[in-house]
């Protein structure tokens, strides 16, 4: 059906989409920036890999373990750092991500150090990845539109007002952080079972900023925007193979331009939907007829 290359593209897009959806909930809806999500991906990837290689757990269980582990670590880290203000929170996440990478490099007998961890069974086929991405989207959608998700948006708009309306700001922020970490861990676990060989360097600072860049490009506050952002960021370099070297350069410029010209990203707060498109065209059509 698909050749190996196409399958690889689908898997990479889906894996990144899951991580970006988590990021979108954290950054787009709660307005917390984390440079440490690659760290959570790495925790998820290593936990899942060790679970399936050493403990011989079945694949879904291994992924679950990876995601849960990332969530637990995020909960612990979040308990400490979530009260910090914007910049400080960001830098502590960055520090955390780097710590994870250095630590995995250092613990040679468990993680294989800088040489990486290999021998992971291949389980993440395109179908599995696609299923996971759809599931991730549906769960995130429901999370955002639940009462809890609404309180996240309230925090984004005005933290003090949200607190005054009885929202437990610290708890909500922490849950959002844990949510994004679980997604990152989930993505990491899937990625490990696709690559079959993982190194700590895969999940470096560059990966974290790629996740943030994708989220910003897609739109801060739009899940469908994040999906489209991932498609654009991951697929364009596959289409323009020769320009792969310039990939990150373009994205860097794109982020600056988007922030300058249209700070809310491609989609802004809007979600992409069919009725929205119909309404858009009706409006346009309506305006044209009224001019006539």
């Amino acid at each position: 059906m698909l050749n190996a290359f196409q399958e690889g593209v689908v898997v990479v897009v889906c894996v990144n989409m899951i991580a970006v959806l988590g990021m979108s909930v954290l950054t787009g809806f709660t307005r917390l920036f984390s440079f440490g999500n690659a760290g959570f991906m790495s925790i998820g990837a290593y936990t899942a890999a060790i679970c399936s290689v050493q403990l011989h757990l079945p694949f879904p269980l291994a992924i679950l373990c990876g995601a849960l582990m990332a969530g637990v670590v995020a909960w612990l880290v979040g308990s400490l750092t979530i009260r910090l203000r914007g910049d400080y929170f960001l830098i502590s996440c960055l520090g955390f991500g780097e710590c994870v990478r250095v630590l995995f490099n250092y613990t040679k007998n468990i993680t294989g150090g800088a040489n990486g961890y290999s021998g992971i069974p291949y389980h993440t086929t395109a179908a599995v990845a696609l299923f996971c991405a759809v599931l991730a989207f549906v769960v995130a959608w429901n999370f955002i539109h639940s009462r809890f998700g609404q309180s996240l948006s309230a925090i984004r708009e005005n933290e003090v007002a949200a607190a005054a309306n009885g929202i437990d700001v610290v708890r909500a922020k922490k849950m959002s952080f844990v949510f994004s970490a679980i997604y990152a861990g989930w993505a990491g676990g899937l990625y490990a079972h696709y690559l079959r060989h993982i190194t700590p360097a895969l999940f470096n600072l560059g990966k974290s900023s790629e996740l943030i860049i994708t989220t910003v490009l897609g739109g801060l506050g739009s899940l469908t925007g994040s999906v489209l952002g991932t498609l654009v960021v991951q697929l364009l370099p596959e289409i323009f193979r020769g320009l792969a070297e310039y990939r990150m350069l373009f994205y860097g410029i794109a982020v600056v331009v988007v922030i300058l010209v249209r700070p809310s990203g491609l989609f802004g707060y809007r979600e992409f939907s069919l009725t929205g498109i119909i309404r858009f065209f009706k409006k346009k059509f309506g305006r044209e007829t009224s001019v006539q």
Binding site: D87, S92, V102, E245, L249
Partner: protein, 288 residues
Amino acid sequence: MQQLVIGISIGSIYALIAPGYALVYSLLDFSNWAHGEVCMLGAYCCFMAVKVAELPFWLSCVLGVGGAVAVSLFNERFAYRRIRSNGSPNMFLMIAAMGLSTTYQNLANVIWGGKFKQMPKLFSVSSINVGGAFIGTTDLLCLALALIVLALLLYIIRKTQFGLHVRAVACAGRTAALLGVKIDRVIARVFMLAGALAGLAGILYGMKYNVYPTMGNVGLKAFVASVIGGLGSVPGAIVGAILLGLIETIASGYISSGLRDLISFSLLILILLVRPSGLMGVDVQDKA
């Protein structure tokens, strides 16, 4: 003793970068993530001038610093000022800075390639024996230059009219503007000042180690240093930088060089938890 000197010399490079973060933070309340890349571009300017244009070394150093100043000013003019005048939240400044940093890093990668480039050695790799410790001449040069420049910086901030304006804007921007301080001009000059320091640091770092596209990550360390010292405080940033340099060297000397980054980042998180305002904790009143 040996470790101590090396530590202080690395710290002095951090100390040249860290005040840039502190100054910008004190004025604009955001962390300028592109600062490390300014430092990298300064180093490349100097490298190009000396290797390709074959200019004398002192002139290339001036060009390197000048390049860094230009880049820093460009960031301010092109990106940050527009975002400020849009009235967007501070978060967007940070995202823009991150975008710029990614852009520059990859630009350098595209233009010069990822290879390590060697700066010409100003002195032969010699060392002086002082009381049983061997001190490299490059280390000494770093230290001496950093000392002079930082003393100058503190003098500018403390004693000159420009320094007074900087402190006024940091303390209360709107009030300062009402009293006739041209805020945009002050901010532009601060960016130039920060750029000059970063450029010098980049050249020194390049001489000590190498020049490469991701060398801007030394800026992260400098940022850690300025957080340790207290974000927004220039003396704090300098003290934090020296301290971080010492701790890193001692950690890699006595524990393990692999764990060096782990230690400095755990220190960062620890400081943030125990004393978020940093060692030289500053109130809003006396930033800068």
